[in-house]
Symmetry: C2
Subunit: 211 residues, 2 copies
Amino acid sequence: MARSRGHQSPDEEVAAPEAPSTRERILAVSLALFNTRGLGRVTTAEIAAAAGIREGNLQYHFPRKSSLVEAMFAGFEAEAAAVAGRMPADPGALLAYQRAWFDLIWRYRCVYRDGIAMVEIAPAVRPRVHTLRARTQELARAVFDAAVAAGRLRIEPEALGRLIDNAWIVSSHWMSHRLQGGTELTEADLDWGFAQVRDLFVPYLVALQPE
Amino acid sequence: MARSRGHQSPDEEVAAPEAPSTRERILAVSLALFNTRGLGRVTTAEIAAAAGIREGNLQYHFPRKSSLVEAMFAGFEAEAAAVAGRMPADPGALLAYQRAWFDLIWRYRCVYRDGIAMVEIAPAVRPRVHTLRARTQELARAVFDAAVAAGRLRIEPEALGRLIDNAWIVSSHWMSHRLQGGTELTEADLDWGFAQVRDLFVPYLVALQPE
DNA sequence: GTCTATATATAGATAGAC
DNA sequence: GTCTATCTATATATAGAC
C-alpha cells in the first residue's frame, strides 16, 4: 500500500477494514486523552506515545497542538451536522433525537468539559463554537416548538427557552459533576446523565409513555 | 510605585480595616485569576505579578502551587460551612438560602469550572471535595424535604433526588455555558444563572409568590 | 512518513543575600 | 518578609537524516 498522499481517499472498493491511517490514529487517541484528562493537561508527548509514534512524526501530521485541536473540533462539527440532519418530523421520535445529541456530546465531552482551555489553545475555533451552538439551539427550539404544536409538550414560550438552556447545561456538564469524585466515567454513567436530562422535561410532557 | 512597605505589622489594636497581609492578598488575587482563567492555566508568575510581589516571595508564603490551591479550597470549605449554618428553619426562606449557595459557588466558581485540574494539582483536596459535596447534598435534601413537608413543594422523593442533582449541575456549570462565547462574565449573568436554577423548581412549587 | 536530535520557552521550585 | 539569581523539568516546535 504505497500511499504517497497526505490525504488518502477513503473510497476504497474492497472493505479493507483495518489499517487506519496514522493521522486517524492520532485523532482517535487524542480525542480519548482529551476526554479523560482534559485538553489542557494532555501533552503532545503523551499523544505520540499513545498513538505508537514519535513526537517528530506527530509534528509532521499536526505541526502544532492547535492544529490537532482544530482537527478534533472539525470532527465534532461534522458529526453534529450529521445528527442535526436526522431531526425527526414526528415529535414522537423526540427521545431518540435527544439521545443522539447526548451520545455525541459524550463522545466529544472534552469540548464541553474544557471549553475554555480549548479556545485558549486554538483561538480559531472560538467563532466556530459560537456558530455551532447558536445553530444547534435554534434547531432544538424548532424541534420542541413542533412538540408543543403537536400537543406533546405543554409549556410557555419563555419557559421553553429556559428549559432548553437547562437541558443544554445538564447535557454538557453532568460528566464534570460525576467526575469530581475521582473515578472514571463508564457507559452506565451515560444512562444516568440521560435520565437527568429527561427529568427536566417530565413536568411538561403531556404523554410520557404513550404505550 | 514608590511604595516603601518594608514590613507592615498586621497585629494592630484598632481595627485598621485595610493593609491586608501579603498572604491574604495572594489568596485574593489567586482566586480571582483561578476564576477567570482556570486553575490549570494560571502560573505562579502571574499570581506573583498580580499580587505585586516577586516569585520568590510567593514561594515563601506558598512553597508550591498545590499549597496555594489547598489554601484556596480551605477558604471555600470555611465559607460553605458558614452558609450551611444559616440554613433556614422556615421553608419560606428557601429562596434566600438558595441564593446564598449560589453566590458562594459564584465566588469559588473555579472549583467547579476546573474541578479536575484542581485535584490534579492538589491531590490532597480530592477526598475533601467528596466530603464537602456529600454533606452539602445531604443538607439540601433536608431543606427540600422540609419544604415538601410544609406543603410548599409537591414532588415525589425519587424525583426530588434527581431535581437536586440537576440544580447542583446547573448551579455549578451555568458559567461555563455562558463563558464559551468568549466574553467575560458579569454580575448580570449571575442573575441569569440564578433564574435558570429557580426555573428547575417552578413546576413543583405550590406557591411561587406568597404575596 | 517516520525517525533522531536539538532548540526554545515556560513553569515550578530552590538557595541565599538583604 | 522580600528580593535576585539559578536550577530542573517539561512542553512545544524545528531541522534534517533515513
